[in-house]
């Protein structure tokens, strides 16, 4: 493939292949930012891959008291699933087990969209008939919002009746950083993650935003849906099919999910620029992206479209 460069670092002329997913956002508040973050962190645990975890989730941003419905510190969490029903199942489990259980926490819808997902209206059954609903006008929007107040041992768990799933969410934007050694490549990936997270409405669901076990579809073992991306495993260099040059010792990947296709593109763009700016000092050999030949996902993010600091036209179109 033709080779491009950005900040002196080779960028492979390929594309990241991503998929339509169901996505939603919730706002978690607590008396302190610390406990809001504890609840959000717990809820977004074990949510790296929708295949193995049922959902991909991450923390979008922290919110000041002025930005939350109840005037307390908050955290906005994004959750993605294959389709709305699966997303609902995961949302209920995670809010029920991680937010309801966390002292002082309340939970609100964090995004508007066309698909309703019942949340408080389902969790209220934990209240064993003692839960009550309350409709109150939202002073910010003027619209009425319905909440459930579920008695718990520290007072009440307050949860909005329903949240909404958006149309147009995309999962699976990615970049692969090809480096010389582990420590330096990890640092490049960390810098890329920090940049990618500056884009609102985008999350990186893997540990610290980084994944080392990139995968391909299928496997030599019967029944496996996915298996290691052997073309990018440095210990398999020299075999047929490897994509790695002799000087590449480590490959780390970042995966990006966002509420919009534009969010994925902008998050990838920010990560690509930050990584290549730091790359020369950290032994970065090249940057590439993962795809499945373009036949599985309709969103293709071509790296050549991300080389400019500003978007020239909408990326990610089929």
């Amino acid at each position: 493939m033709a080779e491009l460069t950005l900040n002196g670092i080779p960028v492979i002329d390929t594309f990241a292949e991503a998929f339509d997913v169901a996505g939603t956002a919730i706002i978690i508040t607590n008396d302190t930012a610390k406990w809001a973050m504890i609840a959000a962190t717990t809820m977004t645990g074990f949510a790296t891959s929708v295949i193995g975890c049922g959902a991909e989730a991450g923390i979008d941003c922290e919110l000041s008291p002025e930005e939350t419905p109840d005037g307390r510190p908050g955290v906005r969490v994004l959750l993605f699933g294959f389709e709305p029903n699966g997303l609902k199942d995961q949302l209920l489990k995670r809010v029920g087990q991680c937010i309801l259980t966390c002292p002082g926490t309340a939970c609100y819808a964090g995004v508007d969209g066309p698909t309703k997902i019942k949340l408080g209206g389902a969790i209220r059954y934990f209240g064993d008939g003692f839960a009550v609903a309350k409709k109150l006008p939202d002073p910010l929007t003027g619209k009425t919002r319905r909440y459930w107040r579920i008695p718990v041992m520290d007072g009440e768990f307050l949860c909005e009746d329903f949240v909404r799933a958006v149309d147009g969410a995309v999962g699976g934007g990615n970049l692969l950083f090809l480096g010389r050694n582990h420590a330096q490549t990890l640092r490049v990936a960390e810098i890329a993650v920090d940049a990618a997270r500056t884009v609102a409405g985008a999350i990186l669901p893997f540990p610290g935003g980084i994944v080392r076990s990139g995968s391909k579809v299928g496997a030599r073992t019967k029944g496996m849906m996915a298996s290691t991306n052997d073309a990018y495993c440095p210990t398999l260099k020299g075999r047929a099919g490897t994509e790695l040059a002799a000087d590449v010792g480590v490959v780390l990947e970042i995966v990006i999910d966002a509420l919009t296709s534009q969010g994925v593109a902008e998050s990838m763009r920010a990560a690509l620029h930050a990584a290549t700016e730091a790359g020369a000092a950290h032994g970065l050999v090249a940057v590439t992206a993962g795809n499945y030949g373009g036949n599985l996902g309709r969103h293709h993010y071509h790296l050549k479209d991300l080389l400019s600091k500003e978007p020239a036209s909408e990326a990610g179109a089929a």
Binding site: D70, R72, F130, V132, K134, P139, Y147, E156, L158
Partner: protein
């Protein structure tokens, strides 16, 4: 704006059910003058009682109120009605949207069955404001009723949803309440008598029914949301919700999922 100016005190009760910005919008002044508003065999029309000036707008002003003007704003679905003076019974009954403002006082059953919009009474309201009329399933049913003065007895009787803000209310406020919220500087005796669900918030209350039990003081997120919702309508009521409060649960003689919050200061 469309203006109706009362010529003199009406000789009988007048029914304003069909007098609103929407119904007047497509009429000429002569057609509007023929709208029947009388409630006796006298056959009074709007033109008999009011000087009419129409301009087709969504804002209707009634200059010169009377306690004989019944059902002003009833079934209103949009636009505004402003009454300079008093009105009679069933102000905004069954209202669905828009705004009704009364500079004087209102008779009984203001806001009964209203599902949307805002009703504001600068003076006092009679008994059963926000309450159910006889044989009706529910009183206020989603609208917002603001009474700057005092309300009579049985405020919000069988109220189902919505919000009532009042300076003071008489006995049995929130009686048989199904749900919704009432906030008041003070409530009379037996607030929430027979209430199933709903929230009463008061600076002070009269005698409580024995079927209300104190649950103590609680720092609930709900009170923060309530205070934020009330502040645009009435900062003093919002301050009440944000202050120290004692909670009573009731009416345990019925479903018992209602609550009464009383200022602990």
């Amino acid at each position: 704006m469309t203006t109706l100016t009362l010529r003199q005190e009406p000789p009988e009760r007048l029914d304003f059910l069909n007098v609103n910005p929407l119904s007047l919008g497509g009429l000429s002044e002569s057609e509007a003058a023929r709208l029947p508003v009388g409630t006796s065999r006298r056959g009074l029309t709007l033109g008999d009682c009011f000087a009419i000036a129409l301009d087709g707008s969504e804002d209707l002003v009634i200059e010169g109120g009377s306690s004989r003007l019944d059902r002003v704003g009833a079934s209103l679905s949009g636009g505004t009605i402003r009454v300079v003076g008093d009105v009679g019974q069933r102000l905004g009954e069954g209202m669905k949207g828009g705004a009704v403002t009364v500079t004087g006082s209102a008779g009984p059953f203001a806001g009964s069955g209203a599902t949307g919009g805002t009703i504001t009474i600068a003076g006092d309201a009679g008994d059963h404001a926000g309450g159910a009329v006889y044989a009706a399933k529910a009183g206020l049913d989603g609208a917002t009723l603001v009474i700057h003065g005092a309300a009579g007895d049985h405020l919000g009787d069988r109220m189902r949803r919505g919000l009532i803000l009042v300076g003071a209310a008489g006995a049995y406020a929130g009686s048989r309440m199904i749900a919704g919220t009432i906030a008041a500087a003070s409530l009379g005796d037996h607030p929430g008598y027979g209430m199933r669900r709903g929230t009463l918030l008061a600076g002070k209350v009269g005698a409580l029914a024995p079927s209300f039990v104190e649950t103590g003081t609680h720092d609930l997120v709900f009170l923060r949301l309530l205070a934020r919702s009330l502040r645009p309508l009435s900062p003093s009521h919002a301050d009440l919700a944000a202050g120290a409060l004692t909670r009573y649960s009731g009416d345990l003689a019925t479903l018992g999922k209602g609550e009464l919050w009383v200022s602990a200061a």
